[in-house]
Symmetry: C2
Subunit: 349 residues, 2 copies
């Protein structure tokens, strides 16, 4: 029997509640399958850890994670206690970068049983491939002068390697999907990064003559998520544009609380990290009312990446069937607790 | 009688159709008012001009515009013929910068008679104040290396002056609105520009103790435009974030074709420029089916800025009443032509 060693970082806020729920589901489907099992090792890293130790994770944290097959993470951030740029760059973004998880895959799909906030959505099924290691999220920049003359500069850094990798991954996904890739750009406003992005897209697409393509500016694309989300298959976007589009993707599905994500090291040299789109939601943490579906669906993405697509599909079906029976948390307009949603999903399985 | 000298730049595509329609409406309400009139001077600048002269406007174009009270612009861009970063930086963005139109005001409002693509929108009425002169739209950056190692860098440049100006303008607007300002940030991902932005927001808000504030990351804020647009009053955003939010604002209203905008030189040292959110829409240009409402509503913003708020309100009412009678162009699900919509608005007036 294959045993997957998974590093678990529940993190902050509702991360601590949704992660154990998702693990219960994953253990259950592993038992049903019979061919593999998980070995979970918990790490208490996050803002509590920071308040005690002055750092979000121990110095050898990254080395520790490298010994695992994958990382399963909840959410990071307690802005009231630790500034976001410290908590995120000390844990979430640090892991994404140092484990070279340079591709972030995030689906947005109209689920059975869910009411989209859109009036009349046609069936949509989008996969956003977000460049996850560079671009606008760079730790390069600085300030000059003080007082009234102060200036801050933030450098967005795009490498051909990183850009091409994200684009090729998007085209590969499109081959097994509906043969369409849309590039998110903003070359009419950003005169260095995005024309570069466009040039690379024009080159890469030549290698995929069977895949149709479109190019949209990010402002228009955001509007299209509201007006015609069914028009998209795979979308490739920079780090920041992918971030924005995938929260929007969560919104049009019905709640950010259900949106899943996978930070992939596609070379499989280091562990990948599976972490939902939603944050730590301090306002509802500890009440047992958080929506566990984002984390459970994220678990399905881990199953897929480990090669257990059939089991992954079962998990997504169980989620949809649960929603169709009306068992929903508050963010989806229901009254169910986290525990009730999780149990309903287990029952469906 | 007061005469306003207005420089008119219809620009490209549907700009050439919607601008004359809006001018007809503006002339009509001026006559109704009786206290002022417009003197329109047309400039044929844009992509056609570029194809003939190799530049989007003559070298002394900016000096020419300075002799007018305001600029009324349609849309710029013909991406099939002229790369966007040439057409936009040679005309639209050039004017915004050289005439120091550092504030871009863009409302998003649920109009009577329009069906929002949102299922059950509560009444929303948002004003986005977009920093319009710096930030992510900078012409600073470059490339290094060739081939596989190529790297592009784009510098986002935020000055305290520009940032503070946009924020103070937002707070001033909120005083006459619903006393609430939301700041769009992304300080968890962008570690120089956005923490700077946040710091300045924290300082500026101290001067407006009667105004409530909120701070949201741009990804969440984009999702909130879908989930709870009624929760916002004035939003202050950087150049790029404002760009994205206002296209989204157009989408939740029902069509980007109706969204208006004003590029303001709030110091009134130079002319301001009134230009709708939508682009030149080459695909429907020349067919007489473009929606003139964005341009007409933009004309209303010019009336407001010139001190004719009462007349401005009449124009917006006429737009709403026209929509309520079902006279709509194709983008709004109707079958009316541009001419029919314009005439219906004139009739309402
Ligand atoms: C055309 C483009 C450069 C422009 C912008 O991004 O500012 C447009 O999208 C707008 O919003 O006015
Ligand atoms: C928390 C934040 C840094 C993060 C990001 O912007 O990448 C989050 O929004 C996400 O999408 O995973």
């Amino acid at each position: 029997m294959k045993t997957y060693k998974i590093a678990v970082i529940p993190g902050d806020g509702i991360g601590k509640e949704v992660v154990p729920a998702a693990i219960e589901v994953l253990d259950y489907v592993a038992k049903l399958d019979g061919g593999f099992q998980f070995e979970w090792t918990y790490f208490p890293w996050g803002c509590d850890y920071y308040l005690e130790h002055g750092e979000m994770m121990p110095e050898d944290g990254i080395e520790t994670l490298k010994q695992f097959d994958q990382v399963f993470l909840g959410a990071v951030g307690m802005p009231e206690l630790v500034p976001d740029h410290i908590s995120l760059w000390g844990l979430l973004i640090k892991i994404r970068r140092e484990l070279k998880q340079s591709i972030n895959v995030r689906p947005a799909k109209l689920l059975k049983g869910l009411q989209s906030p859109l009036r009349n959505p046609q069936n949509f099924d989008i996969t956003v491939v977000r460049e996850n290691s560079e671009g606008e999220y760079s730790d390069s920049g600085g300030r000059i002068h003080q007082g009234a003359d102060e200036i801050a500069i933030q450098n967005a850094i795009f490498t051909r390697k990183g850009t091409e990798r994200a684009m090729r991954y998007a085209f590969e996904l499109a081959k097994n999907s509906r043969q369409h890739v849309t590039s998110a750009t903003k070359s009419n406003g950003l005169t260095y990064s995005m024309p570069f992005w466009d040039e690379i897209f024009d080159e890469v697409k030549k290698d995929y003559p069977d895949i149709d393509t479109a190019v949209n500016h990010i402002d228009a694309l955001a509007a299209f998520f509201v007006m015609k989300p069914h028009a998209f298959d795979v979308i490739v976007a920079s780090n920041l544009f992918g971030d924005i589009l995938t929260d929007l993707g969560g919104a049009i599905m019905g709640s950010i609380g259900i949106a899943p994500a996978a930070n992939l090291n596609i070379e499989r040299e280091f562990p990948s990290m599976f972490e939902p789109v939603h944050g730590s939601a301090p306002d509802i943490a500890g009440k047992g009312i958080a929506n566990p579906i984002g984390q459970i669906w994220t678990g399905k993405m881990m199953l897929d990446f480990l090669g257990h697509q059939d089991t992954g599909t079962k998990v997504l079906n169980a989620i949809e069937n649960t929603l169709a029976t009306g068992v929903k948390t508050g963010d989806l307009g229901g009254t169910a607790t986290l525990e009730e949603v999780k149990n309903a999903i287990l029952n469906q399985l």
